[in-house]
C-alpha cells in the first residue's frame, strides 16, 4: 500500500502545443483585461473629481440662493 501511495503517476498530454497556444492567448487576454481595468479606474477617479466639483458648485449656488431669498423676503435680517 505504501508503494502505491508513493508511486508517481504520469498523465500524457496529447495536444501540448495547442495548450501552450491557448495559455498564451489567455495571458494576452488577461493583459487586456488589466489595461481595461486600469482605464476604468482612471475614468472613475476623473468622475470622482468631477463630482467633487459639482458638489462644490452646488453648495455655492445654494448659499447664494439663500442669500437672495433672505434679501428679498427678510431685508431687516441683513
Amino acid at each position: 500500500m505504501e508503494k502505491n501511495e508513493t508511486m508517481q503517476v504520469f498523465v500524457k498530454i496529447d495536444d501540448y502545443k495547442d495548450v501552450l497556444d491557448i495559455m498564451n492567448m489567455i495571458k494576452n487576454k488577461l493583459g487586456d483585461a488589466k489595461n481595461t481595468l486600469n482605464e476604468v479606474n482612471r475614468l472613475k477617479n476623473e468622475e470622482d473629481a468631477e463630482l467633487e466639483l459639482w458638489q462644490t458648485s452646488l453648495e455655492e449656488a445654494e448659499r447664494r440662493i439663500m442669500y437672495i431669498d433672505k434679501a428679498l423676503f427678510e431685508p431687516e435680517s441683513l
Binding site: 508503494k3 502505491n4 508511486m7 508517481q8 503517476v9 504520469f10 498523465v11 500524457k12 498530454i13 501540448y16 502545443k17 501552450l20 498564451n24
Partner: protein, 249 residues
C-alpha cells in the same frame, strides 16, 4: 307521588271519550274457512279436481316436432388439382458449429505477489523527467526586436523591466518554435493541481461576471440619476432667468 293521583283521576273523568272508529265492511262477518284436505289422503297427493285445473292447459296445445334426420355428406376429390404456386425461398446455408478451441493467453494474470513486482517494473519504466523539447530553428537575438533608448535616459527600473521582457520574449519565442518529438507526460499530482486551479479560475470568472452584472446595473442607475440631475439643473436655470428678468428688467 301518590298525593297527586286524585288530580289525575278527576281530569280523566272530566275528559270526553273519543268517538269509536267506523266499521269496516265485512268486519265481523268473515266467510268460514274452506275445508282443507287431509295430508295423508291419496286424492290430495296425485289427483287434481276439475275445478282446480289450470286454464291454459285446455286452450293451447304444443306443436309436434319431427325428429331431425342426419344428412349424409360424401367428399369427392376433383380429378385435376389446381397448380401450386410455389414461391422460391431463399437458400440457407447450413449452420455449422464453429468449434473454438480454447487458447492459452500469452500472459497469464498475475498473482498479488507477482503484481507488486510488475508494478515495480512499470515504475522503473515510467520516465522520471519530462522529455526535452527541441526548438525547430535557432532563436534570433532579441536586441533587434527591442528598440534601445539613449543610455543617458535609461533608468534602473527600465533596465529591470527590459530584462523581464527579454526573458518573457525568450520564453514566447521558444514556445512558438516548439516541436513535440516524444509524448509528453505530466506528474499526476501536478496534473491534479492544474485541474484544481482551472476549477478555481472558472469559479472566479463566474464571480467576476456576476460583479460585472452588478456594476452595469449600478452604472444604469447612475445614468438615470444624472439625467434627473441635469433636468433639475435646467429647470433651476430657467427659473433663475425668469427671476432675473422680473427683478432687473
Amino acid at each position: 307521588m301518590r298525593l297527586f293521583n286524585f288530580i289525575k283521576k278527576s281530569r280523566a273523568a272530566e275528559l270526553e271519550a273519543p268517538p269509536p272508529p267506523p266499521m269496516i265492511e265485512g268486519e265481523g262477518t268473515l266467510p268460514p274457512f274452506p275445508e282443507l284436505p287431509t295430508i295423508n289422503s291419496p286424492s290430495s297427493a296425485g289427483k287434481v279436481s276439475s275445478s282446480e285445473k289450470l286454464p291454459f292447459s285446455q286452450s293451447k296445445k304444443l306443436p309436434s316436432f319431427k325428429p331431425f334426420a342426419l344428412r349424409k355428406v360424401t367428399a369427392t376429390m376433383p380429378e385435376e388439382l389446381p397448380p401450386f404456386q410455389s414461391t422460391e425461398l431463399p437458400s440457407f446455408e447450413p449452420i455449422t458449429e464453429q468449434k473454438t478451441t480454447p487458447t492459452m493467453p500469452e500472459q497469464l494474470p498475475l498473482f498479488p505477489g507477482e503484481l507488486e513486482n510488475e508494478l515495480e517494473i512499470i515504475e522503473q519504466k515510467i520516465p522520471i523527467r519530462v522529455p526535452t523539447l527541441k526548438p525547430q530553428q535557432p532563436l534570433k537575438p532579441l536586441e533587434i526586436l527591442l528598440p534601445r533608448k539613449p543610455s543617458s535616459l535609461v533608468l534602473e527600473g527600465e533596465e529591470i523591466e527590459r530584462e523581464a521582457v527579454k526573458d518573457e520574449h525568450k520564453l514566447v519565442h521558444a514556445r512558438e518554435k516548439l516541436v513535440v518529438v516524444k509524448p509528453l507526460f505530466i506528474e499526476g499530482m501536478r496534473f491534479r493541481k492544474i485541474i484544481g486551479s482551472l476549477s478555481e479560475i472558472h469559479t472566479m470568472l463566474e464571480e467576476n461576471e456576476e460583479h460585472q452584472g452588478h456594476w452595469t446595473l449600478k452604472e444604469d442607475t447612475k445614468d438615470t440619476h444624472l439625467e434627473h440631475f441635469k433636468t433639475a439643473l435646467e429647470h433651476m436655470q430657467r427659473k433663475l432667468i425668469y427671476i432675473d428678468k422680473a427683478l432687473f428688467e
